[in-house]
């Protein structure tokens, strides 16, 4: 997972990874063309950018500066925090709601382990209750206005107290002790703090990268969102500091800043989706409305004019969520970009969990005490969920497995904590029972929805393997038999594979399949298929847009799969071709051998024949052999060409026999005869003419052929001495004709001709083109 590794706080490693990210993600979210036109422009920009060092140069430098700034800022914060004073205590909330001291870094306090802490008395005599200190809810997430004000005051007092040389801790039933606050040190920050700051840093870097790759409206908005959430995460990290004691001044700004960040994020998201993936009409109005609402609210909150501030905030955020969903639905109607659907799903998940959390905390806030820890952890998890979703968005089409799972887990955890709170608040269940129940429900939800969400969100469900192979080989067959129209069949195959809304052909050539337009578009190079002569025609590429009828994003796996499919297709075609060529070569070789060897022998035999009958017999054998070998060597014959040759052959032979030929051939539509059909017709015709020449003693022969609507009729009539053909014994020649007609699926009959001679009529009801395979 290249995204997580930059979490290393050291600047060089963060920089190194981010720079690879720059080139990578240029195909993702940030490079998408905002309009409906082909994202060629975007990829053009990328290739141009990659080509010129300057383009990459200043961005890389700017990214380095930003990364350094972030790291230095973080380091300064860490240094400052390490210098602040605190009292190192670990406690546990007992079942009665009291604060039980567990352990402490302080030697004096360690002896008091296991006792209940009542409160903390500052040097100027203020008593800070232990329960409030211990639960330490974030002012942003305190439902009641008054409580929040109290909490802020309390935090200020605590911060002030930490600056004093000593504070007095009161315990239940034991004498209070005076403790001297000590500097925190790096070790005193606690694991949650480190994790949250790392996450914040990663989010910050991703935001920076996205903005730098293409500093336009959308990406700047994304940067703003990322920055707000970074701030949120950092503030949450500060709140998560362990032990008693907060840095001075944090408490007062904390609430307002976090509220501001949340509302600005909402407005920014609304603005962003009104321009991406498609610019919706009246987007300026929508965005302006969002911003106005946000600014007005933050202003009102800052002036302290609002009551029920928390509720209003939550309602406002949920409203943003609903409006965003509506805008995305609208945008999808205008342009079926799968990105809208994915965004909408993510948005619904976020808004849904936020709503659940709001209800849970709103209800639980009225219950005193016990669940305060959970209530303060719930929002934290939700923010982590939100931040991970924000991080995920630029990489939707690159299917970052780990990040996806992480996001899913964070979401499910939010659900779990919210449910836990709800159970306690609504059903008055015990702490343990509700926790267990919530966990089970959440796990069930996770297991049940994971596959569904994964499929729906990014979609990994493809055609079944069998169907894919089937399509693949069918396409191979079709391309092979159709010759040059490779691109057409290829687009059909890819259409079956991905069900895109549109497939177009672009003259641009890409070296390999690639996903552009943040997963809406897949560019597939038209491959040079073996044996298909595309000549000088540019190969270009196929552009598939909006997979699964616009409900799915293309991923890098899809591009790889496509490349593999193309590879297999080329292989299948090459294989088919090799087989076909081998077959043809073998046939031609057999034909040549037959013709050369047997033909020469028959010729000699013919010259040495004892009688004219024998000579004729051998001659016919030789002609049959030649027909056979020609049929073997060629693959198909056109009916019109075949008829011309028949005519030339027959007229020559009849001329030698001093017989007149009347030839009429009527071909409605050109048809390709297969080898079997051609040789059957050729030999039947020759046999019939032979019979006329040898037996009929005719002076005139009528040959008519007619091909219409797939039906072929052939008649050979003479004016010879033959009569009453029904009574003829079926000699070898007539039997051969019957056999051949049967082979063609037709029928043959002889009848008396008027005024003399006989007519043979051959009907083939379906003389259709057959695939010779």
């Amino acid at each position: 997972m290249p995204i997580a590794r930059p979490a290393g706080v050291t600047a060089p490693s963060g920089y190194g990874d981010s720079s690879t990210l720059t080139t990578d993600s240029s195909l993702g979210f940030d490079s998408a063309a905002p309009d409906a036109s082909l994202s060629a422009g975007a990829s053009d920009g990328v290739s141009r950018g990659l080509a010129s060092g300057r383009w990459l140069g200043w961005r890389r430098r700017a990214l380095m500066v930003l990364a350094l700034l972030g790291c230095v800022g973080l380091f300064a914060l860490l240094r400052y925090l390490a210098g602040t004073h605190y009292i190192d205590v670990n406690w546990r909330v007992s079942s009665t709601g009291q604060i039980e001291l567990l352990s402490s870094g302080d030697a004096q306090l360690r002896q008091r382990a296991g006792q209940y802490l009542r409160g903390l008395e500052t040097a100027d005599g203020h008593m800070l209750p232990a329960q409030t200190l211990a639960s330490r809810p974030s002012p942003r997430w305190i439902v009641d206005d008054e409580e929040r004000a109290q909490q802020i005051v309390l935090e200020a007092q605590l911060a002030a107290a930490m600056e004093q040389p000593s504070v007095r801790l009161h315990f239940d039933g034991v004498a209070p002790i005076d403790i001297k606050p000590v500097p925190r040190g790096y070790a005193g920050l606690g694991a949650p703090f480190w994790l949250l700051t790392a996450l914040a840093l990663v989010l910050y870097l991703i935001g920076a990268v996205v903005v730098l790759v293409r500093p336009d409206e959308r990406n700047l908005l994304y940067g703003l969102i990322a920055l707000c959430q970074t701030t949120n995460l950092l503030l949450i990290a500060l709140e998560s500091l362990q032990g008693f004691g907060l840095p001075l001044g944090i408490g007062e700004v904390n609430s307002l800043v976090r509220l501001g960040c949340d509302v600005i994020t909402g407005a920014a998201i609304l603005h962003a989706i009104s321009v991406h993936p498609r610019q919706v009409p009246h987007r300026k109005v929508i965005a302006g409305f969002g911003w106005a609402l946000a600014l007005a609210f933050v202003g009102a909150a800052a002036l302290g004019g609002a009551s029920n501030l928390w509720w209003w905030t939550q309602v406002l955020l949920l409203t943003y969520g609903i409006v965003c969903t509506a805008v995305l639905t609208w945008s999808y109607r205008l342009l079926p970009h799968p990105f809208s659907i994915v965004l909408r799903r993510i948005g619904l998940l976020l808004a849904g969990t936020l709503g659940l959390l709001t209800i849970a905390i709103g209800l639980a806030g009225r219950e005193p005490g016990v669940q305060q820890t959970i209530a303060s952890i719930g929002p934290v998890i939700w923010y982590v969920f939100f931040a991970s979703a924000v991080m995920l968005i630029p990489f939707l089409s690159r299917s970052q497995q780990v990040m996806r799972e992480f996001t899913l887990l964070a979401g499910v955890s939010t659900v779990a904590t919210s449910l836990d709170l709800l159970f306690v608040a609504v059903f008055a269940l015990g702490q343990f029972t509700s926790l267990t129940l919530a966990l089970f429900v959440a796990l069930g939800v996770y297991a049940g929805t994971r596959q569904w969400i994964l499929n729906q969100l990014m979609g990994s469900n493809m055609l079944t393997t069998e169907r894919m192979f089937e399509s693949l080989y069918r396409a191979a067959r079709e391309i092979e038999s159709a010759g040059s129209s490779g691109a057409e069949h290829l687009s059909k195959l890819l259409g079956e594979l991905f069900e895109p809304l549109e497939v177009t052909h672009s003259p641009r050539t890409v070296p390999a399949s690639r996903v552009v337009g943040d997963g809406s578009t897949l560019m597939v190079p038209v491959p040079q298929l073996p044996g298909i002569d595309t000549g000088a025609a540019p190969r270009g590429s196929l552009v598939l847009r909006f997979a699964r009828r616009g409900r799915r994003l293309f991923t890098r796996e899809d591009a790889r799969l496509t490349d593999r499919v193309l590879d297999q297709l080329a292989r299948a075609i090459a294989f088919d071709r090799a087989v076909e060529q081998g077959r043809n070569e073998e046939r031609a070789r057999i034909a040549q051998d037959l013709h050369d060897d047997i033909g020469a022998r028959l010729l000699t035999l013919m010259y040495k024949a004892q009688s004219p009958e024998m000579e004729d017999y051998v001659r016919h054998t030789l002609q049959d052999l030649k027909t056979l070998t020609r049929g073997l060597a060629a693959s198909s014959h056109r009916l019109s060409h075949a008829s011309a040759e028949w005519k030339a052959d027959i007229s020559q032979r009849l001329h030698a026999a001093h017989c007149e030929l009347h030839w009429s051939f009527d071909i409605e539509r050109e048809v390709n005869l297969s080898v079997v059909q051609w040789s059957a017709l050729t030999r039947m015709l020759r046999e019939l003419i032979n019979n006329v020449i040898v037996h009929a003693n005719a002076s005139r022969v009528d040959v008519t052929g007619r091909y219409e609507r797939g039906r072929f009729t052939l008649t050979v009539g003479d004016d010879g001495v033959g009569r009453d053909p029904q009574g003829w014994s079926h000699g070898l020649g007539l039997g051969g004709i019957r056999k051949r007609v049967k082979l063609l699926g037709g029928e043959v009959r002889w009848r008396d001709n008027v005024p003399r001679g006989v007519v043979c009529e051959i009907r083939v009801p379906e003389l259709v083109e057959r695939q010779e395979r």
Partner: protein, 245 residues
């Protein structure tokens, strides 16, 4: 003085048969020279003044050439004898135009199928010597394609005889510039060819076009001449295709 005839045929039985055909066909005094392979045929031709047919020497008036010979293809000899002042006739067992069309391009004046009846052969031979070139429908089609494509023989003809698929698949060199001496067919000649390719006889064509049969014949002769002229320009290409060089 006897008319000199050369018969190049490796099968002795066929050779004597062809001798009979030739003797039957002409009333002149004939001096028939027989050759069993290309080498001896070349020797005989050199004795009579070489392949260029020098003046002052008594050359062969009629040459019958078989295609498949022990030491090569009869077409080699035809190509060498393109300037030789004799009537050159291919006698072969191959009736497919993948053998005959190149032979025509090499300058053959006609072809005879060895398995034909004695009388048929005699008649055909007389016709050819009288200047009636034979044209089968398939050959006519090939000619049409040849002139339409500017001297490129059709690659995938419907009945491609014995040509190997390998040859079909391989890309042949094609002259970039059209040969300067490549002549086009006149509309009349194309018409004649088209009718021929549809299987009409010369007589039928004459009545269809409303002209005399010898006019049709003249058109055919002219087509032949053009074929030979155009084929010289691409002789190198052909030689490669036929495996002559």
């Amino acid at each position: 003085m006897a008319v000199k005839v050369l018969i190049l045929e490796d099968n002795p039985v066929a050779r004597s048969f062809l001798c009979r055909v030739v003797r039957e066909s002409f009333s002149d005094t004939l001096a028939i020279t027989e050759a069993g392979d290309l080498e001896s045929a070349r020797k005989q031709i050199n004795l009579t003044g070489g392949a260029q047919g020098l003046h002052g020497v008594d050359p062969f008036k009629l040459i019958l050439v078989d295609l498949e010979l022990p030491d090569g293809n009869g077409m080699e000899l035809l190509a060498e004898l393109s300037q030789y002042p004799a009537t050159k006739i291919v006698t072969t067992l191959y009736s497919d135009d993948d053998h005959l069309f190149p032979a025509l391009q090499c300058g053959a004046d006609g072809y005879l199928l060895k398995e034909d009846r004695f009388e048929v052969l005699v008649e055909e031979l007389q016709k050819i010597v009288r200047g009636q070139p034979p044209l089968s429908p398939a050959i006519a089609r090939r000619l049409l394609t040849h002139f339409r494509d500017g001297g490129r023989p059709e690659l995938r003809s419907a009945d491609s005889g014995f040509s190997r698929p390998v040859e079909l698949a391989s890309s042949r060199p094609v002259p970039i510039e059209k040969p300067a001496d490549h002549e086009r067919l006149t509309p009349r000649e194309s018409e004649v060819l088209t009718y021929l390719s549809k299987g009409f006889t010369i007589k039928e064509i004459a009545s269809l076009m409303g002209i005399k049969w010898f006019t049709v014949n003249d058109h055919i002769k002219s087509i032949y001449k053009k074929l030979n002229v155009s084929s010289r320009a691409e002789a190198a290409v052909l030689a490669t295709k036929q495996g002559l060089v």
